[in-house]
Symmetry: D2
Subunit: 261 residues, 4 copies
C-alpha cells in the first residue's frame, strides 16, 4: 500500500511541443530526429536520453531484432486469439500478447542482467570472473532458483543467436566484462549441474544491457518493444490465413472429450 | 457470433526453428537478418515478408519513428499509472498504454489509409485527385464523419512533422498518388469547412502506408509498434522520477471536492 | 483527433472516502452496502447509481451469471497462455483474456441492444413489434450486416439459456416490449433468411439491458465483468492442470510442419 | 525458460456444452445455476468447483464487494484514460485498468494470505497465535519487507471495512484461526514498529481467503474480478461526464512547464 506523502513535483524531461515544434530529449524532433534515427535508435534514445553512436546503434538494433520474432509462441497465439474476438482493436490484440512477457520468457533477460549487476555492480575488466560466477551460481542453487540466461529447451547444444550476438559485440566493442561474466556463469552452471548450459540469447542480451549501462529493471523492456513489432506480423497473417478459430475448436474438443463420453 | 465451419488448416509462413537454426520469412535469421536489419526494417519485414530497399528502410523507419513519442499523452499516463500498481510487470504497463491506441488517436492513420484506398483502390498517377477528394470529403460530410488525417488541435496551422515526412517521401520516391490525393483531400476539406486543415502526421503516414501497399487494416499497427518503444521511456522515467501517485491524489482530491464540502 | 477545448471540471459522483468512512453512490459503504449487496447487485449499483429491487437483483444477477463461463473459449485460452509466461501477474492474464471480448463475441449484446433502441427508442407496450422488426431486419440486410442476438453455431436449434432467461424475465416482470421486439426480430430474420434463428443468450440479455434502461454503449460491460469472474476459474485450473504449454507446442508443430518437410 | 517435456494431456473439468445443454462444474447450467446463483456465488463456484452454503455466499460476496469500488484510484483513471482513446473498446479500457492490480495494491491480499499460510499451513484453532505472529513479523523485518495487510494511508487509525468484515465473519462462522493470526500479526507489527497498524481490508480478506481454503496464488483474483465490476461504473461515468481529457492536458501542462520557460 502506498503511503500518501507530501506533494511531489509532476515533471517530465522527455519532451514537449508547441504549435510549430516538438522537442524530445532536448532535440528538435522534426529536424534532428525524424529521418536521422531508425526505430531501434529511437528505443536507445528512450532508454538513455541521447543518440547512439554508430557502434551502439548497430549493437542495440541487433539486441532488439533478436527478440522480435520466434514464430508461433504463446504471445503470438494470444494476439491471434484476441484478434479473433476483437478484430476492430488491433491494439488490444498486441496488448494481450505482450501481457505474457513475464518472468518465464522475456523476464530471463532481466534475470540475467540482475544476476550480473548483483555480482559485479560496476564493470571491472580485471575482475575474477570465475570467482564471481562461482559465488553467483552457488547462491542461486542455495535458493533453489534457476540460473537465468543459460541453456535452451529447443536450441541445443547452442542457441544459434548467441555466437552471432557475441561476434557483433566484438565488432562493436561491447564484448566487455559483463559478457565475460555471463560466459563464466554458464561455465560454472555447467560444472555445477553436469548439464550443457551455454549462454542463450536472453543471457547474451542481458549481459549486453549491462555493458550499455541499462538498469536491470528496464531490460525486460527490450523484449516488450521488440515483440510488439513481431505481433503485428502475426495479426496480419491471422487476418489473411486465420488459425485461431481452428485452434480454439480443436482444443475445446480435446479438453472436454473426457466429459462427453 | 462465429460459425464453426469445416476443419481448416493451422499454418504459419512466418517462421520456424530447429536445434541449430531459426528461419524467418524464408531467411536464415542468424546470418541474414541479425546484424543486417534495424528494428524498423524488421517491422517492414513483418508487414511485407521481404527486406526493405534502402529507400523503403529510410521511409518506413521515419514513419514509425514519428509515432514513438509525443511527451505526456494519455497512453503514457496510463502506462505510468499502471506501473505504480504493478512495478513487477513492466509488460503489463506497456500493454495498458497500448490499449488506448484506438479510433480517437492512432486510429486516424487507419482512417486516412482507408479513405484513400476507398477513393482510389489502385494507385493511379493520372487520377483526377481534386475530383476524388471532392467526392470523398462530400461523402464524409454526408455521413457526418470527421475527415481523418487533417488538422491538429495543437500543431497549428501546420503539423511540423508533415513537411518533413513529405520531404523524405520525395527523397525516397514515395511521393506518389496517395500523398497527392491526401493533399487534395485536405484542400477540399478546407474549402468545404472554411477552416485551416492541412494534412497532419497521421494523414501523411496513412498515405505513405498506401504508397507502400499496406492493407488499411494493419496501418494502426505502425502506431502500436512505435508507441511500445516510447512507453518504455516513460516507464523508465516514472521509475526514476515518479509522477503518477501525485497525479492520482491530485485528481482524486479535485474530483471529489464537491462531495466533501 | 481530440480538440483541446476550454477547461472542464474534473468531477466524479461515484464516491469518496475519509479517514473513517467510504461513501459510494451516496451510501455509507460499510454500513449500507457491505454485507447487504451481492457482487451482481454491486454491478447494478455501478450501472444505475441505485440499489436494485429484489426483482432487479434476481434478473440482473441471472444476466451476468449467464456470461461468466462457457468452458474453453478464446478468452479462456488467452488467459491461460498469458499465465504460462507471467504466472506472477494473474491480473495480466485476466486483462489479456478480456481484450478479446470485442465485436465478434460479447459485442453482440451491444449490437442487439443498439438494434432494439434504434428501432424503439422508448419502450412502448403497444408498438407494432412485427413492423418494427421487419424494418430493422430489412435495414440490416440492406447494409449486409448480420442481425445480432439470434442463432448460435453450437446451440441448435435453440440456445438453452434463452428460455430460462425468458422465464426469469416473466417471473421478475422484465418481459417487456424490448424482449417482445427481440423475439419479433428473430422471427422476421428467420422469415427473411429461411434459416432457424431463434433469440440467443446475448440477444435476450441485450433486450433485458434495454428493459432495465441501460445505454447500449455499456451493455458490453456486463459481459466484461462476468467474464473476469470466469477467467479466474480458468487460471486456477491452469495453475493446477496446465494445458497451455502443450497447446503451444502442438500448434507450433502443426503450423510449421509444411516448412520443416 | 520452459522445458518442453513429454506430451501432456489437454483437459478441462470446468465445463462443456452440446446443442441443447451447458454443463459447468458438473451442474446443468441452465436449470441448476442460472437463476439460482448470484454473481459472487458464481465466483465461489469458479474457485471451489462447488456451490457455496448460505454462510459462504454471504461471506464471499462481502469479500468481493469490498474490493469493487474505491472512487478515483489509479486503475479507475487508467480505464478512463484508455476509454478516451478507444471508446469503441470498452473491454480494452477494463483490461488496461486491471493491469495495475499488481503487488502494490491488490497484491497485499495475496501477500497477507501467503504470510498466514506460511506461518500456519493448516488451520489450527489451538495455535500459539502470538508466537507465530512474532516469528512472521520478525522474518519480514529481517528481509526488510513490509508486512502486508496492516495499516492504511488514508483510513486511520482503523480501516472502517475491517470491523464490518470481522462482524460478518463472526456471523457466518468464518472467524477462525487465520483471522486470529492476522489480528495477532497486526498487534505484533504495532509492537515492533511503534506505529498504529491495525488489520486493513486486504488483510482481513486475505485471512478470510485462508479460512475458505483458497490457495494464496489465486487470492489476487478476488480483487481482479471485483474491480472489473467497478471499472464498468467508471467508464460509464466517463462516457457521461468525462474527466480524462482534462486530466491529460492539465498533467501535460504541469509536467512540461519547466521546459517551456
Amino acid at each position: 500500500m502506498i503511503v500518501a506523502g507530501r506533494k511531489k513535483e509532476i515533471r517530465t524531461d522527455i519532451g514537449w511541443s508547441d504549435a510549430s515544434s516538438i522537442t524530445l530529449f532536448g532535440k528538435d524532433f522534426v529536424n534532428e530526429i525524424l529521418g536521422h534515427l531508425n526505430l531501434g535508435d529511437m528505443g536507445f534514445l528512450e532508454l538513455t536520453g541521447r543518440f547512439p553512436t554508430a557502434a551502439e546503434s548497430r549493437m542495440f538494433n541487433a539486441m532488439v531484432v533478436t527478440l522480435v520474432e520466434h514464430g508461433i509462441t504463446p504471445s503470438a497465439l494470444v494476439a491471434r486469439m484476441t484478434y479473433l474476438g476483437a478484430p476492430e482493436s488491433l491494439q488490444g490484440a498486441v496488448a494481450a500478447g505482450l501481457n505474457g512477457l513475464g518472468t518465464v520468457f522475456v523476464g530471463s533477460i532481466e534475470g540475467a542482467a540482475r544476476l550480473l549487476r548483483d555480482a559485479m555492480p560496476e564493470p571491472d575488466a580485471n575482475a575474477d570472473f570465475a570467482g564471481l560466477a562461482h559465488a553467483a551460481v552457488a547462491s542461486f542453487q542455495e535458493q533453489k532458483r534457476i540460473v537465468p540466461g543459460i541453456g535452451h529447451p529447443f536450441h541445443k547444444p547452442i542457441d544459434p543467436r548467441t555466437p552471432r550476438l557475441m561476434a557483433l559485440a566484438r565488432e562493436t566493442g561491447f564484448d566487455g566484462p559483463y559478457l565475460k561474466l555471463m560466459t563464466a556463469v554458464a561455465a560454472e552452471a555447467e560444472k555445477a549441474s553436469g548439464k550443457v548450459l551455454p549462454v542463450n540469447a536472453t543471457g547474451a542480451i542481458g549481459a549486453l544491457c549491462c555493458e550499455m549501462g541499462f538498469d536491470w529493471k528496464i531490460c525486460r523492456g527490450l523484449g516488450v518493444m521488440a515483440r510488439a513489432v513481431g505481433l503485428i506480423g502475426h495479426i496480419l497473417e491471422e487476418s489473411r490465413r486465420p488459425m485461431s478459430e481452428e485452434v480454439w475448436h480443436s482444443v475445446e474438443a480435446q479438453a472436454t472429450a473426457h466429459m462427453k463420453r
